[in-house]
């Protein structure tokens, strides 16, 4: 009887161990398959992300619009004073006009062939007497005015990439120390080359 008990005990003690050993090896193999599946998934994800990142376009329009504003500011004002060649202090008139604006500010709005029919830039300058910012004493604009309307839509996610609008203000003086507020709006489209 004791012998029988021993035999049955040994059977019980052997089988679970053996089963356990087999299960562990099988589980390891299954886990290895899953491990490589996970690696493939991660690799796929990284490839996709890298592809999207490097095949997209760099959006430099914001920088471009800021450079344009700096250029216009340099064109209108030097050392904090309105440039004499643009502002006649005796008549209090501005000598800038639509015909000479681009030439005097050294701007060229020609773009690549693909956009030949449609100007990609728009600039607007408003000059106010200090303290009277409701009505500008001088205003001038150049480029494609259609883009101005898109600036308000920039808050909308769907239209935020259509154009880039940058608006900046600065102050300047004339020779008699009269103060002026100058507001410059710069808009760059070039969507096809900056957004994908």
């Amino acid at each position: 009887m004791k012998k029988k008990m021993n035999k049955s005990k040994s059977k019980i003690s052997i089988y679970p161990n053996r089963r356990c050993h087999l299960n562990k090896k099988g589980a390891e193999q299954i886990l290895a398959v899953y491990w490589f599946l996970i690696l493939i998934l991660i690799a796929g994800g990284i490839f996709a992300m890298v592809y999207v990142f490097y095949h997209g376009s760099y959006d430099v329009r914001d920088v471009e619009a800021n450079i344009m504003i700096n250029k216009l500011a340099d064109c209108l004002s030097e050392g904090g004073y309105l440039r004499e060649e643009f502002f006649n202090i005796t008549n209090e008139t501005f000598l800038l006009n639509k015909n000479n604006f681009l030439e005097m500010c050294h701007l060229n709005f020609n773009v690549e062939e693909k956009w030949e029919d449609e100007e990609q830039y728009y600039v607007e300058i408003n000059i106010y007497n200090f303290g009277e910012i409701n009505k500008p004493i001088f205003e001038i604009s150049e480029g494609n005015k259609n883009w101005e309307g898109f600036c308000e839509l920039q808050d909308d996610k769907e239209y935020e990439k259509l154009v880039k609008c940058v608006r900046k203000r600065f102050y300047s003086l004339d020779e008699e120390k009269n103060q002026y507020l100058i507001e410059v709006l710069s808009i760059i489209r070039k969507t096809e080359k900056n957004v994908k």
């Binding site: 490589f36 376009s57 920088v63």
Partner: protein
């Protein structure tokens, strides 16, 4: 018996580690290749140069380090003096025989570019007709 079992385990582990290393190496090589590809560099350099010219003023000389671009261009059989062309107010960067990327600048200046060692020199002058 025990020795044999341990040996099998070691081989399995080594294969597993080697495969992982191979996987990671391929991934890193892919990332580096994508980052230094001709298409990516062409766009990046063209826009950079256009913005440089936009913010430049007449009688300026700009030296731009283009070591990476020159290396890629040489690999793709493009001569260093053919990498950058400035036509009217458009910068064209070419780093492969079939490629090329252009971007326009708004600064109305006369810009010329030529290679000098691993640099490219940009000369900004006023336009003659002004």
């Amino acid at each position: 018996m025990l020795m044999k079992k341990r040996g099998v385990l070691l081989v399995e582990n080594i294969i597993f580690i080697v495969l992982n290393i191979v996987f990671l190496t391929i991934l890193i090589l892919f990332l580096f290749k994508q980052g230094s590809g001709a298409v990516v560099l062409e766009q990046s350099y063209a826009k950079n140069i256009a913005l440089l010219i936009d913010s430049a003023k007449p009688i300026m000389e700009i030296h731009l380090n283009m070591e990476q671009a020159i290396k890629v261009a040489k690999k793709n059989n493009v001569e260093p003096d053919e990498i950058i062309k400035i036509r009217d107010n458009e910068v064209i960067v070419k780093l492969s025989e079939k490629g090329g990327y252009s971007y326009s600048f708004f600064n109305n200046v006369d810009a010329t570019a030529y290679p000098k060692d691993e640099f490219y020199v940009f000369i900004i002058n006023e336009k003659e007709n002004e």
